[in-house]
Symmetry: C2
Subunit: 336 residues, 2 copies
């Protein structure tokens, strides 16, 4: 699936405009919430929230609501709430992974210490839930909390299977469906709920978000091997270093003959911090078609995502539809 | 203020009964929420939630609702939600403090590692919010999220003032009002809101919870110096070791002459892990009336808490009133 240059340019414009609105909503909301609070809290939140970020999740919320017929200032606040949760998970992830940097800057954990980082994540978590409860009621909150629960569940599944070379493709997808996709699905669904969309519309957008979320993670896992550190802002080969078993490797293990199997095993159980091991692994994965396999899967998922939006093809909100399709295409094209 | 033996015994009975109901509610809720989830998540939650604990917060919720005229099975679920949040904060606190033990057992962090601990706290946080949104609606959720926000704010204030010997009594109370009392206040207030209590009833119970919460922390800080490790399950002198400035010390510094001031300073800026330093500090604090001062403050706060309940003296729920009074008295009597 390819997206026309025109569509891409239009997506870029809209994304920037929405990001501006959402950032404005976050600034106002934080200022209101932090009245009489400790200045350190304000400083840390400012640092964590306004340090870049693609703002894809809030864009999905805005488009999912718009395609169901509602766009107003409150919508940007809902989108802000979803971005808060995303930022909270990044802050906690960086504590868990002992990450020193995030988006080319020091991580919150590194700059302010673990205690401040964990607490800042908790604050954003609470604020996010508060806004979602206000804006979408108990039903929306329920969708959202199920998704955050699933996220934790996916992380546990991943932790339990770290270094497990027998991880199946099925389990791999089970992990990323929970860890990454469930929250993106809820991001879309909440937009539809906020707009008062029909149940069918909510389901369609939730399915779109689910597929896009899984594709996003598959591409993320590909970029971990193939990305350019300058573009991704992340060290290449990080998953290999941490013993995370991802799709290119699973597919390669499936195809490997006895000798190749042995070599893959020895690379993965040996000194993974050795740069040459990572390079050698990449060569093997490429030769065994692991990257191609993952790429194909991502493409199918994106097609399925787009197909989920069928009911909107003839709707009133042509532009929102086109933009959601363009986002799905962008997932495949992204380099960071 | 002293509470009769009879009242104490009755409180013990009711507390045990309510704890049983709340634990049952937590078991059912967790089982429902964890359908198809990773078994590790179930194991960790079981370990974290059912490892003892006084269940004071859920008891306060139950009594605050009952005194406003409502008690049913749903109430125990609301109380469970408040206990979840409490457990979540303990799990995150133990990560932050690198605590190896909790209630005489290994901490979650120690037993399962930091990643699992942070994520378990996040899961409980989300589940708690979900239930509170369902049971008390957006208004209840708003009260609750403000309280959790205040808790983080109080922790930040405390972090910023760690080791600050010039900490004033006013700042000390500002810290513990946010860190400890705001959540206990919301625990009571949500009980009243759940029962459909009048605004005056909600305010009265919120004020009661606020005062009880502050008194609770003052006594906690006293027990840190004077408690018996076997009874409290915590190492005595921990606050001193961590450089936390609490009320006995603030009061003693206020009273100290030049020489005593010097000695206090040298103890606090010297090797705090020295057992003899802690013992010497205790002697000084006692001589300067620091413990007496903190004790008096706790007693006044408990009296204020009880006074907040005035409107319920002549109400229909005499027993709930008596039990809330007994809890306030228990705060002063507790040894753990």
């Amino acid at each position: 699936m390819t997206v026309s240059k025109e569509s891409q340019a239009r997506l870029g414009e809209v994304a920037a405009r929405v990001a501006g609105h959402v950032e404005q909503a976050m600034r106002l909301d934080i200022a209101e919430a932090l009245q009489n609070c400790d200045p350190l809290l304000a400083e840390v939140l400012e640092y964590a929230i306004f340090g870049g970020g693609k703002r894809i999740r809030p864009l999905l919320t805005v488009l999912s609501s718009t395609i169901c017929g509602r766009r107003d200032d409150q919508l940007y606040l809902l989108a802000a709430a979803l971005e808060y949760l995303h930022v909270a998970t990044l802050i906690h992830d960086d504590v868990i992974d002992h990450a020193r940097t995030r988006r080319g800057r020091e991580s919150v954990r590194n700059k302010y210490g673990m205690a401040v980082a964990i607490l800042a994540g908790d604050w954003l978590h609470a604020r996010s839930m508060h806004l979602i409860g206000q804006l979408t009621g108990p039903d929306g909150l329920s969708v959202f909390c199920r998704a955050t629960g699933a996220m934790v569940d996916g992380e546990y599944l991943q932790i339990r299977h770290a270094g497990n070379l027998a991880l199946t493709e099925e389990k791999y997808f089970a992990i990323i469906e929970r860890k990454t996709a469930s929250l993106i699905a809820s991001t879309c669904m909440l937009g539809a709920m906020f707009a008062g969309g029909t149940s069918a519309q909510q389901q369609a957008l939730g399915r779109y978000g689910q597929k896009v979320g899984v594709a996003f993670q598959v591409v993320d896992d590909l970029l971990d091997y193939l990305g350019n550190q300058k573009e991704t802002g992340k060290k290449v080969g990080n998953d290999f270093l941490e013993g995370k078993i991802t799709l290119p490797l699973i597919a390669a293990l499936e195809k490997a003959n006895e000798e190749e199997h042995k070599e893959l095993h020895s690379l993965l159980t040996g000194d993974r911090s050795d740069v040459q091991s990572c390079e050698r692994l990449r060569v093997l994965l490429d030769r065994l078609g692991g990257f191609r396999f993952a790429r194909d899967r991502a493409e199918s998922l994106v097609q399925e995502a787009v197909a989920s939006l069928e009911m909107f093809i003839t709707g009133d909100e042509q532009e929102s539809y086109q933009l959601l399709v363009a986002i799905a295409g962008y997932i495949l094209a992204r380099k960071q």
